[in-house]
């Protein structure tokens, strides 16, 4: 059995890696598959990256970052 935590860690690492490279979340679309998150960067190539975030913990994670950046 794949631990659900490991699936979360995999998704979190992808999110963190993009953020680390200077991408910011610019669009989120939630659907039956989870969340499609579009990251953009003004200068990098490509200027957009798309992640499908499936696990509940990772969907919670990126939205916490967004909420926190608004309320900070």
């Amino acid at each position: 059995m794949t631990a659900s935590w490991q699936l979360y860690v995999n998704e979190k690492e992808k999110i963190d890696a993009l953020l680390h490279r200077g991408y910011v979340i610019c669009e989120v679309t939630e659907s039956l598959e989870g969340a499609t998150v579009i990251f953009s960067h003004p200068t990098a190539t490509p200027i957009q990256e798309v992640l499908t975030v499936e696990t509940a913990d990772a969907r919670k994670y990126f939205s916490s970052l967004l909420v926190h950046s608004v309320t900070k």
Binding site: V28, I38, K60, S64
Partner: protein, 422 residues
């Protein structure tokens, strides 16, 4: 001794423990004995046109050795003439002037019927009135009780009619047989109710006999739905009290009813907004003397908490009750198994493996002893293992430090709305 006196919309009583309108308050003999035992108030068995009851009226569910976990009845309102009841109310009030006697009333939804009965019962000196809009069987088939209590317009109209002539406070007793009790509670308030009480009994069929295939209870081979009450209904009643208490348009006192049998139950209802409680099933199961423990326990609790008066409890937990959308999604609790206390029954492992998140592993220590281990990172903090664990203290639910700042679903959705694709 803490001050246990209560004041519900002007109705005062020596303590918050009242008997609910039901068999324990059927007669002056019973209510007087109840007051001698220590009950602070009694809501008299509902008065109205005297009815005829069936024989075979009650049934109960026993659950794993605990008798009367839930109780069911198909009894109607009083079967005694109004004059007889009024005479006994008068005599009881004379003997116990400082105890609360509330007359429970049920008549057809007609203005003149309400005017007549309110005037007649107030003439004998009751302290208040409780309008029974809740009886779910029999009376409801005749357009009274729950039938009129499920229609907000009828709740409001009948409350208004009672209030047109009432000189004493009017409590409206609500039925739980409705999707949203705050709707009928608001109707009562709009009709001028001085207080509301809840809950009356919940529609129920207690069971079917496996040999005879007849309902339980069975009246000559036939059954009809009854009203459910007792310990099993407490969470339903507590929620309904709390929903009304936190509703800004329902700013009247609440009398809490449903599954109260101990002082702890009473405290919970009061913390969730009730000014006092009413008891039926527990008194039917154990007798009037249970009130002694309730009074002692409440008094000790108040002293331990450093509270001078029971009124200081009212509504103190209401602000802690909210919508799901206001709960913090980043709060984390996980199971922690105390190996020293664990009896290795494996119930937690089975529950988690079969029906939750597969995070409790069975392991063997180096010395060969079996033990259970929680993989914290996979534990969602559902509480199931600690609920099924038969050994007190074997599983604690512990709070983990925050990894992300608090965030509610409502906050999340508000922010995410600004990130929506075009």
């Amino acid at each position: 001794m803490a001050d246990l006196r209560t004041n519900l919309a002007g109705i005062t009583s020596p303590n918050p423990f009242w008997l609910a309108s039901a068999p324990p308050t059927n007669s002056g003999y019973q209510v007087q004995r109840a007051f001698e035992a220590g009950w602070g108030g009694a809501v008299w068995k509902t008065l109205g046109e005297p009815i005829i009851n069936t024989s075979a009226r009650f049934a109960a569910i026993s659950f794993q050795g605990k008798k009367v976990a839930g109780f069911n009845n198909i009894e109607l309102i009083t079967d005694r003439p109004l004059d007889v009841n009024l005479k006994e109310i008068y005599e009881t009030k004379k003997r116990f002037p400082h105890h609360a006697i509330i007359a429970s009333l049920m008549v057809e939804p007609k203005q003149e019927k309400w005017h007549e009965i309110v005037k007649r019962v107030e003439d004998v000196g009751v302290d208040g009135l409780e309008l029974n809009f809740g009886c779910p069987h029999g009376m409801a088939e005749r357009g009274m009780g729950a039938a009129s209590g499920q229609q907000p317009d009828l709740v409001q109209a009948q409350t208004t009619w009672a209030k047109e002539v009432a000189k004493t406070p009017v409590i409206v007793k609500l039925t739980p047989n409705i999707t949203d009790i705050t709707v009928t509670a608001r109707a009562a308030v709009n009709g001028g109710a001085d207080a509301i009480s809840m809950i009356n009994t919940i529609n129920s069929l207690m069971g079917v006999d496996l040999d005879s295939w007849q309902t339980v209870p069975s009246v000559a081979g036939k059954g009809a739905h009854g009203g459910y009450c007792g310990p099993a209904v407490k969470p339903i009643a507590l929620n309904m009290v709390a929903e009304c208490a936190r509703h800004p348009a329902i700013a009247v006192p609440i009398s809490g009813i449903g599954g109260v049998g101990t002082w702890q139950d009473a405290v919970e209802f009061m913390l969730m907004g009730a000014t006092g409680v009413q008891v039926c099933t527990a008194a039917m199961h154990h007798g009037f003397s249970i009130v002694e423990d309730m009074i002692d326990g409440l008094n000790n609790y108040l002293e331990e908490k450093g509270l001078a008066s029971v009124s200081e409890l009212i509504g103190k937990s209401v602000a802690n009750y909210s919508e799901w959308g206001n709960l913090d999604l980043n709060y984390r609790t996980v199971a922690s198994i105390n190996t020293d206390v664990c009896i290795h029954c494996n119930k937690c492992h089975i529950a988690c493996e079969d029906t939750s998140h597969q995070c409790i592993e069975r392991k063997i220590a180096l010395d060969g002893t079996p033990f259970l281990h929680v993989r914290e990172e996979d534990c969602v903090g559902c509480n199931l293992c600690s609920i099924v664990c038969p050994e007190p203290g074997a599983i604690d639910m512990i709070t983990l430090p925050y990894e992300q700042p608090p965030m509610t679903w409502n906050e999340r959705q508000t922010v995410l709305a600004t990130y929506k694709g075009k």
